[in-house]
Symmetry: none
């Protein structure tokens, strides 16, 4: 019997990238005819059939949902998984989780691996690198084979499927509006680079709140960070020469690092500077001063994503109508913000 | 690197005779164009050379490792997964994660599901309920079927397999000894119920440190909590009538809740009471006062577990000799402990 072969093995054997193999099998124009011929000959030889997905879907249900997330040491994603697990177990589904570690190649491999008979459908939040490359062929391929996909949080407009997002822009707008309502006028933003969709949306919300209140957008008060894991030094350097009265940070880590950096510079939180973060993680609650945040409701997001996927797996929805569910965030005001009444 | 292949194998793979392959490669008119194209593409692909000895085609492994953990919204477990991922990816293995949610039944189902052809072996930390029931037949069954299993953190003595643990007892001993060295004498313990193996071991370490230093064990200073998620009220009630100078808590949540409860009661940390926790999570670092902890080195634990499993999968160890690796913890002293020199 010929052994079953994976995308990764084909890539290794032919000494090309996983994405090249994946695209070649889909007859992408990006790949040379010579390479396509090689890949296809090889795939044929080893009975590599992407259509296996469709076959296995018809023949047997695995009653298993695959989750692919970009990071695991990340409170928000773990709460989403918790929400998915809860609904999936209730409805008799197993859940298996794979990590992309924010790598495009790993995401392609995970998807191929899980689609190959192990799962009935996916819940997915895309890797940073995938957003950067803007290459979504692997997700579209799985969908076109008839496998339901639900995207959450970091979703892709170009991929047509069910989605669950929070109102990132509105959540940021509300947070900044709240700061403005407390008489803050010089509000700094600490965000991620723009290709991370949620960072971009939260940045837009910040800008919109300023514009709505006739406060000019000052690019010098905006810091965009690529490497989240080493943000501390960047944030410290950024604040060293800034005259501000508030900070809005697009995640918990940035918010905590902002408070630490400002404290080092002799500022008092919230008396001198108010801070609001995004994501209500374990740190926000425990931190002193406790951190005001935009709550993303991760568990609710996971539960909704699982419901959407299972409804589709059980044919409870029409095949062509996809929906994007927008969950509301909520603003949790704690001690890191100086309220207007505090100063009276 | 590409595999090298023989004529015979080409023939077998393409389901034609050796003579057909030979003739096709010589462009014989006896062979159809379609067959010639196939044979040539294949030969090209494998750098076919008449004298080369082919490598074995018998590798039919999934190259996938299954992880089963009790909880996901849990910093320590996510760092272990990170460590496993790192080593597994380096060695060309996929990783899939399933959660038992501390349920025995779910653990049984996960194991059955993953053992059914999806994975080559397991890395496992058992569910609380499994420890309570003392029923390990599902794990033993998988092992007896020839599937390698590595247990970590919450391991079971009765299951014979490779294990990676930290020195829970010694880590606790060191922490309590440190408190005693700082002149603490009335040290409270906040632990889990005894059937959770790590909680039991940490309790033993606490007791041993007291005995070693001729401090009597006072049962009234020991609180054992079943429901970790609702520990706050229990801890508050516990402290309301206690005369203590230090607290050792077996996890981060208990330590944080202890500090909050004591602060509510008007105590100052560390001036009135010193606190040490277990697990160096995100909260410990950010908390004010920053929390002294026993560091469990989760990533290192995951990396070791993955190495052990992969060595076994790749037959690098003898089948009958199992090892238990004990990783050292390290004590991280931060602001939540009043050092002896502080009071001079």
């Amino acid at each position: 019997m010929k052994r079953k072969i994976t995308l990764k093995q084909i890539a290794k054997e032919l000494d090309v990238s996983v994405s090249t193999v994946s695209k070649a099998l889909k007859d992408s124009r990006e790949i040379s005819i010579d390479t396509k011929d090689k890949v296809k000959a090889f795939a044929k030889l080893y009975n590599y059939k992407p259509n296996n997905i469709a076959l296995s879907l018809k023949n047997r249900k695995t009653k298993t949902i695959g989750i692919i997330i970009p990071e695991i040491v990340h409170y928000f994603f773990t709460t989403v998984i918790q929400g998915i697990e809860h609904v999936a177990n209730e409805k008799g589904y197993n859940v298996i989780i794979c990590l992309s570690n924010n790598s495009f190649d790993k995401e392609v491999l995970n998807l191929e691996f899980l689609a190959n008979g192990s799962t009935d459908g996916f819940i997915l939040s895309v890797a940073k690198e995938t957003q950067q490359k803007e290459d979504y062929h692997h997700i579209n391929e799985v969908i076109s084979q008839g496998m339901p996909v639900v995207m959450f949080d970091r979703v892709i407009d170009e991929v047509i499927c069910d989605k669950v997002i929070i109102s990132d822009k509105h959540g940021a707008f509300e947070a900044v509006q709240y700061l403005i309502d407390q008489s803050c006028k010089k509000i700094a933003l600490i965000s991620t680079v723009d290709y991370v969709s949620v960072g971009k949306l939260r940045t837009e919300g910040y800008q919109e709140a300023l514009i709505t209140n006739d406060i000019p957008i000052n690019p010098e008060l905006i810091l965009k960070i690529e490497d989240v894991d080493h943000s501390e030094e960047r944030i410290e350097a950024f604040f060293s020469d800034k005259d501000i009265d508030a900070v809005f940070a697009v995640n918990e880590k940035f918010a905590v690092n902002a408070i630490k950096a400002l404290t080092k510079l002799g500022k008092k939180i919230p008396d001198d500077i108010s801070v609001i973060g995004f994501t209500d993680g374990v740190v926000s609650k425990s931190f002193i001063p406790s951190l005001s945040t935009v709550n993303q409701h991760g568990e609710e997001m996971g539960a909704k994503a699982a419901s959407l996927l299972i409804d589709r797996l059980e044919d409870k929805v029409h095949e062509q109508s996809f929906q994007t569910t927008v969950l509301n965030t909520s603003l949790i005001i704690r001690d890191s913000v100086k309220r207007k009444t505090d100063s009276l």
